[in-house]
Amino acid sequence: MPARKPQRKPQKKSSRPKALSTGPSRLILGTRKGTIVLERGRTGWKAGQLAHGGVAVSYAARDERTGTWWAALEHGHWGPKLSRSADGEKWEDAPQIKYPEGTRYIDGYLNDDGSAAGVEAAMASAKPLRPKLVKAALKKIWYLGFGGADQPGRIYAGTMPGGVFVSDDNGESFELNMPLWNHSSRGGDLSEGECLGAKTFWFGGGAGVNGEHTPGIHSIFFDPRNSRRWFVALSCAGVLETSDDGKTWQGRNKGLLATFLPKPDVEWGHDPHYVMLSKNDPDHVWMQNHCGIFYSADGAQSWKMVSKEGRTAHFGFPVAADENDGKTAWVVPGVADDKRMAVGGALCVAQTQDGGKSWEELRKGLPQENAFDVVYRHALDIKGDALAFGSTTGNVYFSANRGKDWISLGYNFPPVYSVRFA
């Protein structure tokens, strides 16, 4: 007797595109009002309990290697703090990041009588510059990065004022990277004396929750082929690379343009908003810069602007590089630096698949009227084919199919500072 063919049950057709219900299932948000974990269950995405309620969280992420969750807090009164959790629900103060005694930075220049000197006048003077030296104290933890598989325990923290703190014991202790802190581009070793003649090329920078403006480090990424080679990007100076695990640093700003300066092709003074490389195609590096989108096909040794003023994809904060195809990247455009809002009142994500030669606007599922959303530098993330982003107006969107379709995960979140798959 022939075996009976198993009867196949008729499949119910889902009303939701399959592409939206696959992919990663957890996100962590750093917001103006706390840390929020979003999880995808059988009935869709849901927000878990709010952690750090009422406290600004500048960055939150999970270290996949250890399963530890991290959040960088910006208390309005009590200063920046690092918080950690074993399960994403119960959080505790972590060992704190502190600048070592004696670390100073240049915060302007002084006349001989101690009054503040105009920078232009100070630079033009024949006398050696008299820098105004400020003792470094932590203003903001802006970014947390996790090291390679061959560097267990390695965690990076990018801070304001511009520092990189490195931990090799899973965050039990952090040490300021001194070669970068003492880099010639920021005046060299400023730990003793008046440092007459010392000059910094680092300026401006991101704002802390209390409005402080000092240069800050917001992007840290390593070469997956050699994790002793890593990069930092900061606002404002540009990109620096180390190939000896932080002992020496070289600027990597060739081809960048700072159109807000009299001489746009300067060595220092650039404002990368966020920089990221393609994980499995790591010579391809992407930068959303204050002045446009830049792309490098040679591991940040040289950059090329791949956007045009007046086009949708040009100004913005975040960028996400495809994990496998280095020529593919996504940005979330805003109008311009003097009009930080969605282009034409319509939210879109722009994608290139040809190294920035052309940009496709992806809008399906995103609001196309009355939208004012701006997406900050850490508020767009990618994992495989999945993308997610959150905006300053508290909207969070997810796509499981490389941005072709988007679904909202909520419209009423606090202003979102960071979005990371967890």
Binding site: G76, H77, W78, K81, Q96, K135, L138
Partner: protein, 92 residues
């Protein structure tokens, strides 16, 4: 011994501060903060930065007087003085 009272906002991060009298043996505010950190590890970094400077939006009063030296916390404390650690109302 000086007695120290805290803004209730700090109870959230240091529950042990609530509902008890806290005393420190200190001749200056800086010594008082160091002593408080010994009693409640981590508390000092909520009040001062790593350079020992009082945070911009934190106030410390001796009796009813705001301390003068926010950079080094050198204001002296009389024995039996009362210290108040408050959040500054820096906004509206």
């Amino acid at each position: 011994m000086a007695r120290v009272a805290f803004a209730r906002h700090l109870y959230r991060f240091f529950p042990a501060l609530q509902g008890r009298e806290i005393s420190v043996k200190a001749a200056t505010v800086a010594q008082a903060v160091a002593e408080l950190d010994r009693q409640f590890p981590g508390l000092a970094f909520y009040l001062v930065d790593e350079q020992g400077k009082l945070r911009q939006h934190v106030n410390i009063f001796i009796e009813e007087e705001l301390i003068v030296d926010r950079d080094r916390l050198s204001d002296s404390i009389q024995p039996q003085a009362r210290l108040f650690v408050m959040q500054a109302l820096s906004g509206g």
